[in-house]
């Protein structure tokens, strides 16, 4: 039985379990129809030209985990940014782990999607925001059809959330292969500010496929910083669909750090519904072996005087493949738009591949839009300079690569997170950087 058939039949079971007739249930039923019609995307689709899901879809995934597993904090501590105080929403094989989590309802809601879906007091928020940003592509629809658990974050007006929120999805590998479909909703009201760190981590080498959807809504003058750490082991695949709807004068930034996993696809979509909005999309990708990372971004400039900044850096070793497909659309009304897009890549091995397609679609005349894209090598004279001053070749190389990715790192606003990522980069490059960053 193909994964598609399995999912379709599992949905019938899933449907029986959930209460009929509710708002979300109708959405789920519509969504499964969309998925049934469209199926998994193939390479024939323009957006999937360079990424094939075939190798990922052939596993026999179990869609509903059978047993619950408990994890001890000391065993998984290293996956947390543990040296700062934070709210935590932790899932183990798709199930919420109250033991590891630290949620709150004091003034702000940092809790679970399942409780938000079931409790009447969240009904209004759910009906106003749930599935209002996600697009109707097949993978997002698939997630919607099975949406039941994930993080629910609602920050009311004028709140500065003083500590970051960590969302971590663990998979324990109890099943031979697991498919997870977390669904996150983040609603940030006027003048509020929140920082979120998201991570997916599998604890064994059993294959995992995560098809995640995150919807983020930023109201007037709200600020959201979202960080994604993708450093999973080599049998874990991730399809991350993130949709961000921004209202006027809001600031949203998403940083994606892709260092691991078998296949990672990031569908990152920004919609600017208001004036003077600022959107930032940044990412560092450092991969090797046969890993595959695909960044597929969209920034839709709908109204005037908005800005967007995209900066993606990639370092590719061994037989890895990197894809960047960035699209900026500037509508006719969106005059005075300032859109910038950069994608710089370094190929370290002859077997590595980069496919990049920075795309502009512009319908307004008074705009400043530019994109740049480079593929190149490390500067030999810089290497020579360092080596002539006694820095070994390996370290010199690492330093240059670190400097290369520093444009992205420098805008990370949580110092502990920055430090952690620096360490991951150093270990990826096989050196210990002897300076504090």
């Amino acid at each position: 039985m193909s994964l598609k058939d399995k999912l379709l039949s599992s949905h019938l079971v899933f449907e029986d379990r959930s209460d009929m007739g509710s708002y979300v249930n109708n959405l789920r039923n519509d969504a499964i129809k969309v998925f049934k019609e469209k199926g998994f995307p193939s390479k024939k689709e323009e957006a999937w030209k360079y990424t094939s899901l075939n190798s990922v879809l052939k596993e026999d995934y179990s869609v509903f985990p059978k047993q619950e597993t408990a994890l001890e904090y000391k065993d998984v501590k290293k996956y947390f940014i543990h040296d700062i105080d934070s709210y935590k929403i932790i899932f183990i094989d798709g199930k919420y782990s109250s033991h590891l989590s630290q949620t709150t309802h004091a003034g702000i809601d940092v809790c679970l999607m399942s409780s938000a879906l079931s409790k009447p007091k969240y009904r209004l928020v759910i009906e106003n925001y749930f599935n209002k940003a996600a697009s109707e592509d097949s993978l997002s629809s698939l997630n919607t059809a099975f949406s039941s658990e994930g993080a629910f974050i609602h920050i009311p007006k004028n709140k500065l959330v003083e500590k970051p929120i960590q969302i971590i999805h663990f998979s324990t590998g109890n099943e031979a292969a697991t498919m997870l479909q977390p669904r996150n909703l983040v609603v940030v009201d006027e003048n509020s500010h929140v920082q979120i760190i998201e991570r997916h981590q599998s604890l064994t080498n059993n294959p995992v496929l995560t098809n995640s959807v995150t919807e983020i809504f930023t109201a007037k003058r709200a600020i959201v910083d979202y960080y994604k750490i993708q450093n999973d082991n080599e049998n874990a695949s991730l399809i991350d669909n993130t949709f961000i709807k921004q209202k006027q004068e809001s600031l949203a930034s998403v940083h994606t750090f892709s260092f691991g996993g078998k296949l990672i696809r990031n569908n990152l979509n920004f919609y600017q519904n208001g004036e003077r909005i600022d959107s930032t999309l940044k990412g560092v990708t450092i991969i090797g072996n046969k890993q595959h990372v695909d960044h597929n971004t969209l920034v839709h400039h709908i109204e005037p005087n908005c800005e967007s900044h995209q900066d993606y850096k990639g370092i590719f070793n061994d037989k890895s493949t990197g894809v960047f497909n960035g699209k900026v659309v500037v509508e006719k009304e969106a005059q005075k738009t300032n859109a910038f897009q950069a994608n710089n890549n370094i190929l370290i091995s002859d077997k590595a591949t980069i496919n990049t397609k920075p795309q502009l679609e512009i319908f307004a005349d008074d705009v400043k839009c530019s994109h740049g894209c480079t593929i190149g090598q490390l500067d030999e004279s810089a290497m020579f300079y360092m080596q002539s001053r006694g820095i070994p070749k390996k370290e010199a190389k690492a330093l240059l690569m670190y400097a290369f990715s520093n444009d992205v790192l420098s805008s990370v606003k949580i110092p502990e997170l920055k430090q952690r990522i620096t360490k991951i980069i150093a270990s990826k490059l096989g050196v210990s950087l002897g300076f504090d960053l």
Binding site: N355, C369, T374
Partner: protein, 482 residues
């Protein structure tokens, strides 16, 4: 002080009619509409082609029948009905001429109206012309001069008869019959075109040029051009076209193949000014062209194009950099106005070591037009030290037009160096202010800026052609240039 503003310019652009729209009444022999194997055979027979050519056409036709018309380009148009087109039309008076005096005077008049009279060309520029009116070559000049050097420059139907070994060896090697829908169609029904062969070590003494022209109502034109530059030779080939004002859509599906053998260099320049449709977007030519060049060792192919016409353009002059140290270049200006749509760009396929490519593309959109750049830079795993530089700039006039960029970059070699940059902007108020301040009125200022914007590409055109290019830019963007 003139009060000429961008709005005025826009207004002028809107109302600007196609100046070269007229229709010459030459008796034509036209085939019945529709396409089937019999028509393909009949075309081949009409042209007195050898058996292998007929077979080649039929093979292409069979391939074409199984293909689906592509729709991935960023253009919208009513798909042509391929069974409603007449696939062959030739001017009636057919004898070949050695001198211009023998040419049908009405035809000469046509060219005089276009301002590109053969006489003038002959005297001033020393350009040999292989004039194509409705698919059949009617005049070839300077043939003798060229023949002395061993250069073969003739219509492709003549070449099939006189130099079958060359045609057979090279036709379809760069653009195979099954390459794409329109290439297959062209391979099946191509009516005529130019053939050029430059022998080893010969530097062609003059610019070779062909003027294409659609002249018969409802006749699609299917040109086939084959240029072969043998080892160490050099040729500069010019192609330009205008078409009369007609209401129904006309289809133009040409195939151009360039072959540059070791150390050879081909410079191929195009000025395209097919009828773009009127201000309401009615009519206009569909221009679906496949152009590709193959570079052997140390060879160089340079494409330069000025695209101002056609209702729909779908064109990607490409270079396959097969030999080591080969060089590919692409310089383009695409101007769209009113309801024109252009989806154009290039493909640079790096296969050999130390290959280099440069892409400079300038798009100017006005009115309600859509202008897209679509390009591919591909570095294969064996292409050590490949180098590419791409730059695509767009200039938008008014907020009803669109500019799009679709650059595909695929690198499979670590020593590759690729740079791509694109910008989109309008004519800056500060730039105009700067000019105004120095006593240059706004109209002149816009002209200066647009000129400067396109300069990098205009500079690449051969001198004789640059004048024509300027002229065509004027028609498309009158009031802003010169």
């Amino acid at each position: 002080m003139s009060k000429y503003t961008e709005d005025d310019l826009r207004e002028e652009l809107k109302t600007k009619e196609y100046e070269y729209g007229f229709y010459t009444d030459i008796q034509s022999e036209t085939f019945p509409v529709g396409l089937n194997e019999d028509i393909v055979r009949a075309i081949s027979k009409k042209k007195e082609e050898p058996e292998w050519m007929t077979e080649w056409r039929l093979e292409s036709f069979r391939i074409w029948q199984d293909m689906i018309e592509p729709d991935w380009a960023n253009v919208n148009y009513e798909k042509p009905d391929f069974q409603a087109i007449s696939y062959y039309s030739a001017p009636n008076s057919k004898p070949k001429y050695d001198s211009l005096d023998e040419v049908d005077p009405e035809l000469l008049d046509t060219f005089n109206k276009l301002g590109i009279s053969l006489d003038e060309q002959k005297k001033l520029a020393g350009v040999a012309m292989d004039v194509v009116v409705d698919s059949v070559s009617v005049a070839t000049t300077f043939k003798k001069t060229l023949a002395e050097q061993g250069i073969i420059f003739m219509s492709i139907s003549e070449a099939i008869k006189e130099h079958p070994e060359l045609v057979k060896k090279y036709i379809g090697t760069v653009v195979p019959q099954k390459d794409n829908f329109y290439a297959a169609l062209n391979s099946a029904v191509f009516s005529d075109g130019s053939f050029c062969y430059i022998p080893k070590g010969v530097k062609c003494p003059m610019e070779l040029s062909t003027y294409f022209r659609i002249n018969q109502a409802g006749t699609g034109q299917f040109e086939r051009t084959l240029v072969i530059a043998d080892e160490g030779s050099y040729v500069s080939y010019l192609e330009g076209c205008t078409a009369p004002s007609r209401d129904e859509n006309q289809l133009h599906a040409a195939v151009v193949e360039l072959i540059a053998l070791d150390d050879a260099e081909i410079k191929y320049s195009t000025v395209q000014n097919w009828f773009p449709g009127n201000a309401e977007g009615k009519g206009g030519v569909y221009n679906f062209v496949t152009k590709r060049g193959l570079c052997e060792k140390n060879a160089k192919i340079s494409w330069t194009q000025v695209e101002t016409g056609s209702a729909v353009t779908w064109k990607y002059p490409s270079c396959v950099l097969k030999g080591d140290n080969s060089v590919g270049e692409f310089y383009s200006i695409a101007v769209t106005n009113n309801f024109q749509q252009a989806d154009t760009g290039t493909k640079m396929i790096h296969l050999g070591k130390n290959t280099k490519s440069t892409i400079i593309s300038k798009g100017i959109s006005a009115g309600k037009s859509q202008n897209s750049y679509r390009g591919l830079v591909q570095i294969n795993s064996r292409a050590e030290n490949a180098r590419n530089f791409s730059q695509c700039d767009s200039l938008l006039m008014g907020n009803e037009c669109g500019a799009h960029t679709f650059p595909y970059i695929e690198a499979k070699n670590k020593s590759a160096k690729i740079e791509h940059e694109a910008t989109t902007s309008k004519i800056g108020e500060d730039q105009i202010f700067y000019c105004n301040q120095r006593g240059i009125d706004t109209e002149k200022a816009i002209a200066l800026i647009v000129n400067g914007f396109s300069k990098e590409v205009l500079n690449k055109l051969p001198m004789e052609f640059a004048v024509e290019a300027q002229k065509l830019l004027e028609i498309s963007l009158e009031g802003s240039v010169g």
